[in-house]
Symmetry: C4
Subunit: 209 residues, 4 copies
């Protein structure tokens, strides 16, 4: 009985959950770039060599930027949910800790992708990381709705948040499936989908997704 009492008071601070989340995202976003090693000095004998070496790094830089964008999308997504939640509970806190575990895996998935950009396994793990983040955010939202943790929110908005996650993840899954052709195509499609979400076009056919 005393134990149940403990669980009733544990993990209720939405503010600290947000602070921990911002910290984890900040570290993960900055660690991504650690994968961008400077060219080895002994192999560079002039401007031309350095330019060539940087050209070799360029694909990694693009993958890094794609992952930064992914983390940005999920940071905005989590923030939007937490803003609408009036109070947290122990269970919701643990769902979000699981979400943050997924965030910390992103630098690893990204490095794997950058190293083995031509292999399907690398692409699928990268996509699995994105799927994991989406699934946990979906669970978090469903849990918050079920436990009545939201404030006065119109039902249309509740459905909009759900629909958003489902549509985005379906598109990512289609993108990932394209790796049967080539992993690079998959990555390109996933990045293109993300760009649409980042830009958030207000008119035209893309404003519907």
């Amino acid at each position: 009985m005393t134990e149940k009492r403990y669980n009733l008071v544990a993990g209720q601070s939405r503010a600290r959950l947000a602070a921990l989340s911002d910290g984890v995202f900040a570290v993960a976003m900055t660690l991504l770039v650690l994968d961008l090693h400077t060219p080895v000095a002994t192999a560079v004998h002039g401007e031309h060599d350095l330019l060539a070496a940087l050209g070799e790094i360029a694909p990694r830089l693009l993958i890094y930027l794609a992952s930064f964008m992914t983390l940005g999308i999920f940071w905005v997504g989590q923030q939007t949910q937490l803003n609408m939640i009036e109070r947290s509970t122990r269970d919701l806190t643990w769902i979000h800790l699981g979400f943050l575990a997924g965030v910390t895996l992103m630098p690893f998935s990204t490095a794997l992708m950058a190293e083995f950009i031509h292999l399907r396994i690398a692409l699928l793990i990268y996509w699995a990381n994105i799927l994991l983040l989406g699934l946990i955010l979906f669970a978090s939202w469903r849990g918050a709705v079920a436990c009545d943790l939201l404030g006065d929110i119109e039902p249309g908005l509740i459905r909009a948040v759900e629909r958003r996650i489902v549509v985005a993840q379906s598109l990512y899954a289609v993108g990932a499936a394209l790796c049967v052709i080539t992993p690079l195509l998959s990555l390109g499609v996933i990045v293109a989908i993300q760009l649409v979400y980042v830009i958030g076009p207000k008119t035209g056919p893309l404003s519907r997704i």
Copy 2:
């Protein structure tokens, strides 16, 4: 006398203690994953090689997730305490700085465990890290109660927090003792105990611990 005056005003910000704690936890949680190195590119010649290489990394991933869970448990525990404390003092601040020092050691203990999973010393150091965190949280709570830093809290809740730490640490100690059989069994039992705390079952025999 001027000095005593200094100590009366030093280290009293509960908000900044929480912010520093969230920062340290965020960095420690994300650094854990730095131990997950991507396979060496030159040793991987195709999908099959990468899958095999990732299979070798898998145990590390599990240990990393276990450590993330450990840090999550102690983050929730510390947060719950700090939420109930009305004001901080210089002494309480230093107890929590000691706690944070224990948190920063976790990536090291985890890496040691991942590298030497078959050795008892590695398991015992991992457990000692968990024990240290529990002991300091216990001292923090006792100190807060003794110095009357809590607000209006019912005595039952005070005892519930203490009991929680004592029971959990006793179970971890039993788990650690099982390393006389094999370190892997110890780790499995400790992780299982933690999972129970994370899930926090509301009914059944496990709801009592």
Copy 3:
């Protein structure tokens, strides 16, 4: 329609954007110093050797301090803007996420500069990073003004913020152009300009810039 609704509520927390920014700046500022490797122990046989080895590291230390100063300037700049913005929007949040991506690139640009201090490409990339940060801050300000996100601010102050960025970036561009002579001169001039901004002289000719 539900989707538009989602975008209306997404990314509106100015507080969390500030918290994420502080986190990214904190990590980037501290990662800079990771480039300062301690001398190799086996090559150091006494006080004299260590002093010589540290002498070789000294230029890196200076470049590190210059980059720390750069990040400090942009942190103050972003903070000043966010303080004057009354509310955030999804679009403004994404502009600032782009800004933060530029911040996370700074440790890479700095390491490149430290490694290839005699090469123009390294200097130009370092400068491009500074330019990128300035351009995004300029876009963020223009966007905030256009979307009426500022509170009651006098028009003179709006122009002062714009002018500040344009003047500073023009001076940096002049500094960067000096790399046709030598990259070291460029770096020296850019650092000198930054020092003027940091010191912020209240009288004399430099108080005008």
Copy 4:
């Protein structure tokens, strides 16, 4: 004129300065431990080997804990000052950014000390880092007093803060001077002085310092 106006509104957020500081301290505190490498797996063939390898790491662990304590002392010191300051200014913000630059150097000074514990240069650089932090905090306090940034604070407390820094730094300087005998003695004395400040004895002769 517009420029002066800009400087009047720049860098005034005490809350964001505190948040950035907590972030930098959190990262620096956690990076310290990165210097604790796990023993090389190929050199360890059993429990005994691992114990011996950990024994070799032990001195590094102690130096790491000493540096964590140093950072803790300066974190409490800075926090205490910021709590007493009612508002920040551009100039004060830059003094504290200088302070944070000193904080980010701590992992480097610590690694140097751990690697070359028998060399005076390493000890003197370690001490210079501590001195730098103390000098900047002293300048920050003097500046805050001179610019009337403090709230209603009794003059005795203003002097207590100053005296605290001067006494502590004098003791550290004496400790550093002992490196003419041996660097290890210096380190021991400095750590002992810090321990007195951490424990903050309330009675006895040490309660006076």
